[in-house]
Point group: C2
């Protein structure tokens, strides 16, 4: 029975706790804001795709506490937190107690590009599984989640961790997820999936966060709304091309993603970054836009709109950070 | 003695009420939020440039009330309100009672480009004086104002209203302002001043409003901050060039304005549009950016950053509008 540590038991972490549990793994969750509720009542997911899911995992408040349990060493540690540079150092340090043995595989189920590098730099000999997930989920009460529309997890090995042992860890994990009713797609090159997802995510998420409008709302509001979303997607596609991903993140992907936004019923979706703005939470600016802009600029790709969005979001994120600091006083 | 109606007695309207009063005019102010205080105590301006200014103008709550006073017909009606398309129709209708006689000259002391056209369309035979003002002023309490740094008003005739009579109305007004201690510069082509001012205003004001950072703050925060502000200014300059204003709004003006922002002490100024965002007030999006983008697109100028800022601000303004509507419920 695989021992799994779940670091970050928000929406994504909670749904995968249920799936992994059902698939036969022994899951321990690190919880913060919802610790008490999950400790008392477990996790409850109502899913329009997977039906009702429940789990009563072991619950701890810190990684330090998790490594005192008899489960260790953990076979896998899932990192399902948001990608925030300011807290990355803390996360890497917190995970040290789990990862020092070398027996534990890191599984990153996170948004954006370039997110694996800090882990690879800090733990060069660890196996890193990178995951791209489609799983629209909301925590409607502490420990209670609503999941809709789509469920799919793409998994692949990161960088040089491509030994036979790494491959077999990847395959074993995919099997547990499938046994738990989830869709695990093993990828030869997981970065293809990252680029494919960022086409829509890098455009709609960021534009909505700054305008405080949902996608369809903005498209209806201004005759320049739809062209802007399309042009931002095309700039991302131009960067994807120099990165070698034109086949999955090219003009066709742009057209598909644009039609998805256009065909949504009014007012459209509230992307995660817009929700974060409304909640005054940190924005995943660097993971979602920073890396694209860095790649684009280093290869002299013309990305005026992406640069504009990046600076505006860096400013907005700093403003929200200062607001939180004020509120904490 | 010239009779002047002041429509919009915010910061700009209040300071000019004092100056016009001191210059020998008979000023009637239309006040809304600060009606009671100005009616009881008059206007008080503390200015680091002009010293202490006071005025006890006649105060009314509406244009309708103003036209029942013995002062009418007014020689000039100053419009010192923000330029908000949603309220433009109301303003034009409200002013009808003053303007129907044809004896009254319209004086627009407002931000942006293309702001005169709705007045010229509605009152084709009226003399329109267009004013570009540099007057950083804040209302620190109802009827009490703080003015700093610079005081300068550029005045010129708009469009076809260039008869001898129009010229003499313009010169008379400039004389009153000068007599009142103000700086009135009569311009052959006032649009030059509008383009010159919009270089900084169109860039810094809009970028700050979206990022919620002051100018120096954003420049320090992101290595891409200063290049963004500069590139947005250069896009405005490119539009100014096709509009025939390269001499006042070209590369040299961009460099000057950028150095002004860079040389400000940290964290820099809070531009009016950022203040409006914080206060949930309507944004002057169309006057400040809409017209530049319309001119630019009609002449095939490449303005990707301006288009991006415009759509984001249109969205943000709609969001703020809906918030106000919710609050009013």
């Amino acid at each position: 029975m695989a021992n799994i540590l779940m670091f970050g038991t928000g929406s994504i972490g909670a749904v995968y706790t249920c799936i992994l549990d059902k698939g036969g793994a022994n899951v321990t969750c690190v919880c913060r804001s919802n610790y008490q509720e999950i400790n008392e009542n477990g996790i409850e997911v109502t899913s329009t795709v997977l039906g009702k899911l429940c789990s009563r995992p072991k619950v701890v408040q810190s990684v330090q506490e998790a490594v005192t349990l008899p489960e260790q060493p953990y076979d896998y540690v899932f990192v399902c937190t948001k990608v925030i540079p300011k807290t990355m150092k803390q996360t890497l340090e917190a995970l040290h107690a789990v990862l020092k043995s070398g027996a534990t595989t890191i599984v990153l189920i996170q948004n954006g590009l370039g997110i694996e590098k800090p882990y690879a730099d800090a733990y060069p000999s660890a196996t890193i599984i990178s995951g791209v997930v489609y799983l629209p989920t909301t925590e409607i009460a502490p420990g209670v989640f609503l999941h809709e529309e789509v469920e799919r997890l793409h998994l692949g090995l990161y960088g040089s961790s491509t030994s036979t042992s790494s491959h077999s860890r990847l395959e074993s994990l995919a099997t547990i997820i499938r046994n738990g009713g989830g869709t695990a797609v093993v990828e030869e090159d997981i970065q293809r999936q990252r680029w494919q997802k960022i086409i829509a995510n890098g455009a709609v998420n960021t534009i909505c966060a700054l305008s405080k409008c949902r996608d369809r709302q903005l498209m209806d509001l201004s005759p320049l709304g739809t062209p802007l979303i399309k042009n931002v997607m095309l700039e991302i596609a131009a960067v994807a091309e120099v990165a070698g991903y034109a086949d999955v993140a090219g003009a066709e992907a742009v057209e598909n993603q644009l039609q998805r936004s256009l065909s949504r019923p009014y007012p459209g979706v509230q992307p995660s970054m817009l929700a974060d703005v409304f909640n005054g939470k940190p924005l995943e600016v660097e993971a979602i836009l920073g890396e694209i802009v860095r790649v684009g600029l280093s290869k002299q790709v013309s990305i005026p709109r992406l640069e504009t969005l990046l600076v505006l979001l860096q400013g907005l994120d700093a403003y929200l950070y200062n607001q939180r600091a004020d509120d904490a006083r």
